[in-house]
Every structure is written in structure tokens, then in C-alpha cells.
């Protein structure tokens, strides 16, 4: 960043300029600036949901698009995510208090034998940003852990993530067990991770393979909308 930009005083910017500056700060992974921006917008009586969607999610969408297009790389995305996390920490309790719209509920975790959670964490954060309640099971989840969480949380969506070629087949074990127990159709199953692809997603019986966090959010929204339409029609 240039010296000139360093001199910007966020509280002196009008709303539009501040949101634009927060997009830049998110892009640059500046956590403290994002936290400050969130607090300023809240002081200006913005609804927490608007701060989340217009300032944070809007900024992260640009980050996601540039990652997809090869302009940004993993380190920059992680820094941006870390900055967004700072803003989310302020907003989360307020969103609960204000009863912000909830799009759906997701249980997510990496599969047994896989400890790589960067992608899973990004998806979880972006899903929260899109209005989903996210129950994060963490890493290295067995079939039993997934099934217990499905029973306890009754989510709309199950998300499974794997980074390794050796662990991705475990997703099929989970889905097959859901089929055996007659609960497969009760949930939308989304899968993701670097070595996966669409064919694999279809072959194991998932509803969709999601290439990145942005695609996961769009796919989840689409399935929720279909579910609502079916319920309305039924």
C-alpha cells in the first residue's frame, strides 16, 4: 500500500467510500482495518446483516473471483479470510440478536484421515456470510461423527471436504451409509477439495461437487431454493 493510502482515516469516509475502502482492505488482508470499518458502520446504525453482506461478503466475492481467475493465490485468500473472520467475530452475536435471515443449515467437516481444513474453513465462513448456520465438525471425521451430527443438528446440507486422493473415497463410505440407513435423501450432500472433480462427485452419489467456496455458496443457495419450491408445491 502507498503512504497516501496509509493516511486514510476510515471514520472520515462516507458510507459508500468506506465500503469501497473495506473491499480494498479485505483484498489486502488488513484485519484491524476491517474490524474498524465494521464498527464504524455499526455506529452509523447499519444493520449487522447489511454490514455482513454489503461490506464483507461483497469484498470476499471479489477475492474469490480473483482467486478463481488466477490473479490471487492461496496466501492472499487466507489473509483476506482472516480479515473477514475479524469482522465476522464482531457481527456474529449481533446477527443472532437481530434475527438476521437464515437461509439454511449446514454440517461440514473433513473426512476421516484428512487434516487439511483450509478449504473447509473458507467454505464455512462464506456460507455463514451468505446466511447459513454452519456446524463445523472440524477434521478427520468418521462416518459415525457425520451421522451423529446429522441426527443432532438436522441440517439441510452435509458438506464433506478432502485434500488427499487417498481420503476422498471415504466420502462414498459416508454417502453409502446414509443410503443404507435410508436418510440419504433427507440431506443435500455437497463435496469439495483439490483432487475432486465433477465426475467423482457424481460417481459417489453426492448432489454436487463444488470447485471453490463461492461455488459452494451458490450451489447451496440453489438447492435451498429448490427445496423451498418443492415444499411450496407439495
Amino acid at each position: 500500500m502507498s503512504d497516501e493510502e496509509d493516511d486514510i482515516i476510515l471514520s472520515e469516509l462516507d458510507d459508500e467510500e468506506l465500503v469501497a475502502q473495506m473491499f480494498d482492505d479485505l483484498y489486502d488482508g488488513l484485519k484491524e482495518e476491517i474490524e474498524e470499518g465494521v464498527n464504524i458502520l455499526l455506529e452509523r446504525k447499519w444493520e449487522p446483516y447489511d454490514v455482513l453482506t454489503k461490506a464483507l461478503v461483497g469484498g470476499m466475492t471479489i477475492v474469490g473471483n480473483d482467486f478463481r481467475d488466477g490473479i490471487l493465490f492461496v496466501p492472499e485468500v487466507l489473509l483476506a479470510a482472516n480479515a473477514m473472520k475479524g469482522g465476522m467475530a464482531i457481527l456474529k452475536p449481533l446477527l443472532i440478536e437481530t434475527g438476521a435471515p437464515r437461509v439454511g443449515k449446514m454440517v461440514i467437516g473433513t473426512v476421516k484421515g484428512d487434516i487439511h481444513d483450509i478449504g473447509k474453513n473458507l467454505v464455512g465462513m462464506m456460507m455463514e456470510g451468505a446466511g447459513f448456520e454452519v456446524i463445523d465438525l472440524g477434521i478427520n471425521n468418521s462416518v459415525e461423527a457425520y451421522l451423529d451430527a446429522l441426527a443432532a443438528e438436522t441440517p439441510d446440507i452435509l458438506g464433506m471436504s478432502a485434500l488427499l486422493t487417498t481420503t476422498m473415497p471415504y466420502m462414498k463410505v459416508v454417502i453409502d451409509t446414509m443410503v443404507e440407513k435410508g436418510i440419504r435423501d433427507d440431506y443435500t450432500v455437497l463435496v469439495g477439495g483439490a483432487p475432486l472433480n465433477e465426475e467423482f462427485g457424481k460417481a459417489i452419489g453426492a448432489d454436487a461437487y463444488c470447485r471453490d467456496a463461492a461455488v459452494a455458496v451458490e450451489t447451496a443457495k440453489e438447492f435451498m431454493s429448490r427445496k423451498h419450491n418443492q415444499m411450496a408445491a407439495g
Binding site: 496466501p75 487466507l78 484421515g113 487434516i115 483450509i118 483439490a194 483432487p195 475432486l196
Partner: protein, 209 residues
């Protein structure tokens, strides 16, 4: 003569040798393949390598292998792809089957150096591996692409779930062992040294001899 690591990393290696069996390999395996080939006197084998840095973008491996097989297939009697799955999610095997060429069994070089059966039996979920090549090229393959040189605070986001770094040594080299220890310390992981030699790589090459 073995090319230098940075060439193997970024450019790979044009076919070296007059043999009619082409070993189409990851640049990270060049030294080891040449050692096995020379040790066994396999003059009928020629080595060509794709850039080792493809390791960091596995989605580019299959198209690169396809292009190389198409380019070289008329000049050789047989091509053996010296890659394991290497993060391609089964797509490399499918491509090799379609092209009618064999490849090395296993998920990645850490597995075949250890021996695929032994590696699977270890079930080491929380280990991060280095080979000789990756130890020498640690900055180019780990530190820089993960941004740890610019943002060391990201370290635990990448490695927080790992417990130890296992240095799988193909050769006995005290200097490399010291470097591997330093890499473990840099990543905040416990350190383990494990001499593997060439493991199933030698077995796989022997099957093509």
C-alpha cells in the same frame, strides 16, 4: 549428467539418452531415476522430465503428461509415466489407461519411496513429508508458494493440524538432514528421519526394464 534442481523444477528435462523406452517423469525424481538407471546399466531407457513445480498445481499434471506422451510417442517403442497419482484424483491413471501407457502405482512419491504397502500401513495422518528433492527445494515448493516468507503468521493455518515432519531420505546426506531439521523447526513440527532409499520406485522401473 544430472541437471540442476532449478532447471528440473521450472523447465524439466528434454529426453536424455538413446534408449527406446522413455521414462516420462516428474522432475523431482530425476536424480533418483538416473541413479537407478545407471546402477542397473539400463541403457535402453531414456529419461525426460516435466517441471517438478507441477507438484504444486496437480490439475496441470494430466494435460502436461498428455502433451508429452503425444509429442514423444512416435520416437520411442514404449513410454512409462513415472508419476503416481500425485493429487490428480485418479485422472492421471484414467489418462494413462486411455493412452495405453503404464504409470507408477500409489498416491504420491512419499508413498512409493516408503513402499506403498508400508506407507499405507503407517496410516500417518498428521505427518508432512519431505524427500531429498523437496528438502533441497523447500523454499521454492513450500515457503514461497505458501507465502510464509512474506506472511509467517499464516504458518499455523497451513500446518496447525500436522504433528511432525518426516524426512524421507533417498540418499545419506548429513547436510540435507540438517536442513530437514531446520524445515521442521520452521514449520513448528516434530522431526523424524526415515531412510527409504528408492523404495517402490526401483521396483516400478525394474518392471519396465
Amino acid at each position: 549428467m544430472t541437471p540442476d534442481d532449478s532447471t528440473l523444477r521450472d523447465q524439466g528435462l528434454a529426453p536424455q539418452g538413446a534408449g527406446k523406452v522413455l521414462l516420462l517423469a516428474c522432475g523431482a525424481l530425476a536424480r533418483e531415476i538416473l541413479a537407478v538407471k545407471e546402477g542397473n546399466g539400463w541403457d535402453h531407457m531414456t529419461l525426460a522430465c516435466l517441471p517438478a513445480i507441477l507438484h504444486n498445481t496437480p490439475e496441470k499434471i494430466v494435460p502436461a503428461v498428455r502433451d508429452a506422451v503425444a509429442k514423444h510417442r512416435d520416437s520411442f517403442d514404449k513410454i512409462f509415466v513415472v508419476y503416481a497419482d500425485c493429487g490428480t484424483g485418479g485422472l492421471l491413471k484414467a489418462a494413462c489407461d486411455e493412452m495405453g501407457v503404464d504409470m507408477v502405482d500409489g498416491p504420491h512419491c512419499y508413498s512409493f519411496y516408503d513402499g506403498n504397502a508400508a506407507f499405507e500401513a503407517r496410516n500417518e495422518v498428521t505427518s508432512f513429508y519431505l524427500t531429498d528433492f523437496l528438502c533441497r527445494q523447500f523454499d521454492a515448493f513450500v515457503t514461497k508458494p505458501l507465502g510464509l516468507d512474506r506472511h509467517p503468521e499464516l504458518r499455523d493455518m497451513y500446518f496447525g493440524n500436522y504433528e511432525k515432519l518426516v524426512y524421507q531420505a533417498q540418499s545419506r546426506d548429513a547436510a540435507l538432514e540438517e536442513k530437514a531439521k531446520a524445515c521442521a523447526e520452521f514449520l513448528g513440527l516434530e522431526y523424524e528421519y526415515r531412510f527409504t532409499g528408492y523404495g517402490d520406485l526401483e521396483t516400478a522401473l525394474t518392471s519396465q526394464a
